[in-house]
Symmetry: C2
Subunit: 605 residues, 2 copies
């Protein structure tokens, strides 16, 4: 019997992330950018090179952009703007029934999906993390986790280095204030904590193949839902001329009749392609290049019973929800889990917010995961079902499928995600900004800067920098009574007992960014004038925006109307660090804004 591996090292860290997939790298990058003491480990010796998840939804593009990573994603990725639907034709084979926008979310800043292989997406985060001094340590596996009872609530996690040779077998004990298990569907963290997965496996069996096709199929560069009498197929175009096919399989193709289990040896990429070729008739599809990647899967639809233990150990991503990949949600759900969590960890670690803030992670993301499973059940059933034909009147009609595709669009795009009221989401005074729905992400819109008339999408002045954004829609400041109201508000925000000072740890501007947005026009206003008075305590020329067009009337204008805010009297809108509207209030109800922050923040000493 060999001796136990030597414990060669003991260390402390604020956040230990286990797993460098989409959920892990989103969290590590966000914390690295925030200056949090974080480590991230992964059991794989190198990053993913091909295949895996590949679809990024409109809301996730907005999220990447909020970390300054949107441009690179858009440069490297393929864009899916158009969807096409194919159904059985009277003459046998398939025919196009219709084309439609790929995304049904009118307010999306990026009204399309992008596709890029998972490794390339992760690389965007890895490079950003590296610029902030954090790299993935690999290959390392956790071997034990112990929940400490001490005051400091440090966890003991034992890590084992697998490679390179000089470290092989070395073990290390890490005391972490917080641990994140982002270690995938077979999560070691989840299992170690005894968290169960609720839900079930379906009967749907699918194959996936990535290749550069030779084809006469006219919509090969669109997302296509192909329903044929020879099975269903979904097409997802990708970067570098690649196309991904999701191919419905029947039991007899892949299930071992003796055991009833999927037998991967019964299926290979060539056989998968042969199945697809039948459903594509009369179109031809083949490939003259090597297959880039392939896999088989049975859809499981499960959600973890809890996402956290004592708000000290968390799980995220595939570790807490598994579902069909065909709606392109997997990577998005995972990244948005930790986009939700990261700023909360930073606030608690800095002592700005109470530990209870972290309860909202499970509250918000478990609800989302359950909605996702519900959607997936409906969509998978429609997608895997037989098409309606003359002979099969019980099948799924095109109209039924298209309606579902579009109804679900707001959800699948991520734009419709809605967080319910909680300590950090106060559903009050909605009527004073009737189209900025509390609990939903801040609606993108172009405003111009008062000082230089440069147009900005408002999302670009709300970066994911862990600060709360206090948007003071100052209304018509050309009117003297309104200008008085604005001055009064600015005075109130400036008082020592106001949220701005009471919770403004270190310096108020580290916790809060206050912006003024006037309904006045650029020819009538100076940033040094009336708007500046609204500028609450911190003043910088860049912090005053106008609801007006740019100098060439190409973009901008109409923002107050789009947000449902009174152009005369304005409103206060608070956006939390991850970009969600959390309270709106008229000027007279500033006390509710104070109370909002008081419900989870710690007063400065």
């Amino acid at each position: 019997m060999p001796l136990a591996d030597a414990i060669t090292k003991a260390s402390k860290v604020d956040v230990l992330i286990i797993g460098a997939g989409p959920a892990g790298v989103m969290c590590a990058n966000a914390l690295a950018m925030a200056g949090v003491n974080v480590r991230i480990i992964d059991q794989r010796p190198v990053k993913v090179a091909a295949g895996q998840a590949d679809g990024i939804q409109p809301r996730t593009i907005e999220v990447l952009q909020s970390y300054g990573l949107g441009e690179r994603l858009l440069r490297e990725a393929n864009q899916m703007h158009m969807a096409a639907f194919y159904n059985p034709s009277p003459s046998g084979g398939i025919e196009r029934t219709s084309r439609a926008p790929d995304v049904t979310a009118p307010s999306a800043r990026y009204p399309f999906e992008v596709t890029l292989h998972q490794g390339a997406i992760e690389a965007i985060f890895l490079d950003s993390m590296e610029a902030h001094g954090v790299s993935v340590e690999r290959p390392i596996v956790p071997t034990s986790i112990e929940l400490s009872q001490s005051e400091e609530e440090l966890k003991d996690v034992t890590l084992k280095h697998l490679n390179p040779a000089e470290h092989q077998g070395d073990s290390e004990i890490v005391k972490a204030k917080f641990v994140l298990g982002a270690d995938g569907a077979h999560s070691w963290v989840r299992k170690s904590l005894g968290i169960s997965m609720d839900g079930e496996q379906t009967d749907y069996i699918w194959g996936v193949v990535d290749m550069v096709p030779d084809t006469d199929f006219p919509d090969i560069r669109c997302k296509c839902a192909v329903h044929s009498n020879n099975g269903s197929c979904m097409i997802i175009p990708r970067e570098c001329d690649l196309v991904r096919l999701y191919i419905q399989l029947s039991d007899r193709d892949v299930v071992d009749p003796a055991t009833g289990r999927v037998d991967k040896s019964k299926m290979g990429p060539d056989k998968l392609l042969a199945v697809a070729q039948k459903s594509f008739k009369p179109f031809e599809i083949s490939t003259s290049s090597p297959i880039d990647w392939w896999t088989l899967y049975i859809i499981g639809q499960r959600v973890a019973s809890k996402f956290s233990v004592n708000e000290r150990v968390f799980i995220a991503g595939d570790a807490c929800h598994t579902h069909s990949p065909k709606a392109g949600q997997g990577m998005n759900a995972s990244m948005n889990d930790t986009h939700n969590l990261a700023w909360k960890l930073a606030h608690v670690l800095r002592g700005w917010s109470d530990l209870s803030l972290l309860k909202t992670y499970e509250f918000e993301r478990r609800k989302y995961a359950q909605d996702l499973i519900d959607f997936d059940k409906k969509f998978s059933k429609l997608f895997s079902g037989k098409p309606r034909t003359e002979e099969n009147q019980d099948g799924v009609s095109h109209e039924e499928f298209l309606e579902a595709f579009q109804t679900f669009g707001l959800f699948t795009s991520g734009i419709g995600v809605h967080y319910e009221p909680s300590a950090i989401t106060h559903n009050q005074h909605q009527s004073c900004a009737s189209k900025l729905i509390v609990g939903e992400r801040m609606v993108p819109h172009v405003f111009v800067r008062a000082a230089d008339a440069r147009p900005y999408d408002i999302q670009d002045v709300l970066p994911s920098d862990t600060r709360f954004k206090v948007l003071v829609f100052v209304g018509n400041i050309a009117d003297s009574s309104q200008a008085d109201r604005v001055r009064t508000l600015a005075d109130e925000i400036g008082r020592p007992e106001s949220f701005y000072h009471k919770y403004g740890h270190e310096a108020p501007s580290k916790v809060f960014d206050v912006l003024s947005i006037a309904s006045a026009k650029k020819q009538d206003v100076d940033y040094t004038g009336a708007t500046y008075a609204a500028q609450a305590p911190e003043q910088h020329w860049s912090k005053v925006l106008l609801d007006d067009t740019d100098m060439y009337a190409r973009v901008g204008g109409g923002g107050y109307e789009r947000y449902g805010i009174d152009a005369q009297r304005g409103a206060i809108v608070v956006v939390r660090p991850d970009g969600y509207v959390v309270i709106v209030a008229p000027f007279e109800r500033l006390e509710d804004v104070h109370a909002y922050f008081g419900s989870f923040m710690v007063a400065r000493s």
Copy 2:
């Protein structure tokens, strides 16, 4: 007497660039991207850190974007959208007369100027060059240049390494097929070749100071022309809250009465600021930070008598034209000189084009430089002149100045640059694309790709990759007679005697990129269908565009009308590698397109 430095090395190179300023790095990067064997040397031990030129005009942004460098420029730079004009007020001091767009060029893709210090702009090129394996060698000075009479036309240039210690004093003889002198206003190359500068020095003396201002001046973040009775001043806002002031000086401030020459010791940044403060009254301007950079200059307005010797040695940038910096032209003129030259060098070096192609560099860029000096004379006079007031009825009125500002706008933006007819610019058949002016840059416009409905600005499918772009506007291919015409044209382009094969060295697609642009709508057309037939010999799904909106009707459509092309019958438009329209023709005059390429290209053997 010391011994002569040892000649330690002899080498060959295709292009030797002397000077790593804006003209030099633009050329080196373009050649590096084209895979040309190029070296670039500079006498400065490190790159520029602050100050110098800083304004990038709309056309230059388009040019940077054509090399894939536009995004980074826009991310790092300040944008100037608005201009403001100040004149003497009746109560003494100055007041704002009006605001206007900073750029008067309706077709500009980027309708604003950007400002960023020269070192940061050069760094964008240095990083791109490095990614293509080329770095600036420094500090190195050329010490002799000899024009060889040999067949190969190699030049002997002797270089002296100044540093680091291990190379100090080492000399090297370089045989270069082509030499570019991009070595500034005091160009060693120009002087060594005995090229004279024509023109004269003005009496205008100006100071420049870069600083972060403390001010109540409401347009400090706009470009401002301030005309006061205490002198003129121009404001150029910059990155990182910096502002540049150009300050008019009178002789007595800076001229040594004994010698009549500028004495820099008589003026410093504090004194410059004191002069500015007088013209800003009643506004206050000062700074609490250290001055970032400052200088004095007397405007010289000169153009080199020639830009080349035997089309083997060239000069570019400040080496061949000097003028006032206040119109923000300097760096732009320099970069556009070598943007014009680089692809021509690549074509000649590859044996694709005759040496005579290089004559068009001087033809096109010297004409531009002369136009620039003419503009600068008028503008400097207006700007340096006294404002018109009650007392001074001979002064420059605001109306006169504003009209000049806007009239010159098309020229100063770079959008209006027009190359006259030559071997590479055939001014024929203009009426078949009446708004794509032969000799001017290709007008940006958004089209959608037929295969996936993704919108693209057409400039982004015309990168500076040394290829000629043949845009076949295929018209209404839903009409069968037009579809027949398109097929006939495609057949003709595919014949061995066509330009495509006759001048298609190595592979035709290395020299030419053929794109089809249909007036049909995305719901009616497949990329595999009729448009594909127009796709001449090379076929890829990405090469078919449509004049239509994207799926959400946010961008695109109206392109045929904007270009003045018949939506039914179409036209052929050829864009040269640097983005200028060089011939337009109806389908029936394909022979003129053959003749166009025959006028400077070498037939493949």
